[in-house]
């Protein structure tokens, strides 16, 4: 079912059915999107619940100014960044480093065991500044177009291209050290 059909279903009063279609279309995609940020299956699973609760409760206020696809990704991205921000504050209160905490999670995460290069890539991504990291995850891992990312983050395509370029260069430098 397309986004347009989902919205028509919702407007026709079939709200729960429309939400079911959103879950069907987006749950797996958003899982991978969020997991790249959080680097933990458990955290991703918890946050996905929050994200979909937010989608359900805000769907009635969706005006259709943007596409459903970018609106849903915007919610997921904002929630992921907020989650990381809260984790960062908690880590700071315990005098811990957030990036080292994320690197620990990457090592502990059963999913990437055996693929050391993937771990190195994910660690390099986590060391990036927040904006560059967000753009890199959305562009490289999620294969989103610059136009879609621009709509989701509210940033110009030019600025996104620059962020992606800087991010790629930093990651390459890190990986070249690792691959030597």
């Amino acid at each position: 079912m397309t986004d347009k059909e989902i919205l028509e279903l919702y407007k026709a009063g079939e709200r729960e059915k429309a939400f079911g279609e959103i879950v069907e279309s987006y749950s797996e995609r958003l899982y991978w999107h969020v997991r790249r940020f959080l680097c933990s299956h458990e955290d991703t699973d918890d946050l996905l619940q929050e994200i979909f609760i937010k989608i359900w409760s805000s769907l009635s206020s969706f005006r259709g100014d943007s596409s459903l696809y970018t609106w849903i990704y915007r919610i997921a991205t904002n929630e992921s960044l907020n989650f990381l921000q809260k984790q960062k504050i908690r880590a700071a209160l315990r005098f811990e480093s957030m990036s080292s905490k994320l690197e620990e999670k990457i090592d502990e995460d059963n999913g990437v065991d055996g693929n050391e290069a993937q771990k190195a890539l994910m660690k390099a991504v986590q060391r990036l500044p927040a904006k560059q990291r967000t753009v890199f995850i959305m562009r490289w891992f999620d294969d989103l177009s610059y136009e879609d990312i621009s709509e989701i983050l509210g940033t110009s395509v030019g600025a996104l291209k620059a962020s992606y370029h800087f991010a790629s260069e930093k990651i390459k430098t890190e990986l070249e050290k690792y691959l030597k």
Binding site: E16, W140, K172
Partner: protein, 135 residues
């Protein structure tokens, strides 16, 4: 050596693994959010914000009453009566009397006054004799 985009291509986009059947379970859990939110809401949820508002007003009233009671002195009806009766005996023609110092002269004590006082308070004779010599 690999450089540029080739590095990313060589690493690829391998996804971390998830527990078996996870996405089927996830979709079922997420799909039940509308039902759960309806159950959670119920008729009680529409009244709850108003009750919370009313409770906060009551709490403010109770706290402010307690603070006022503790910070202001209470006056019994007797005190009011005393003040009234005191006002009645004040001179109406000369109210400044209330603020003026009482006027009376201290009488000079004589030797006899002192000796009488010492006798009344039980001072012994030898001490009185000493006092007599003094005065």
């Amino acid at each position: 050596m690999l450089t540029g985009k080739d590095i990313f291509e060589s690493i690829g986009k391998d996804r971390p693994s998830v527990p078996e059947g996870y996405f089927t379970d996830l979709k079922a859990r997420l799909g039940s959010i509308p039902e759960r939110s309806i159950v959670r809401q119920g008729p009680w949820s529409s009244v709850r914000p108003y009750l919370a508002l009313a409770a906060s007003f009551v709490a403010i009233a109770v706290i402010s009453t307690a603070v006022l009671k503790n910070t202001t002195k209470s006056q019994s009806p007797d005190q009011f009566l005393n003040e009234d009766s005191y006002a009645e005996i004040l001179s109406i023609t000369n109210p400044e009397i209330l603020y003026s110092e009482p006027e009376f002269e201290m009488e000079e004590l004589t030797d006899d006054d002192i000796i009488n006082y010492l006798i009344e308070t039980g001072v012994r004779a030898e001490h009185l004799a000493y006092a007599g010599n003094q005065y």
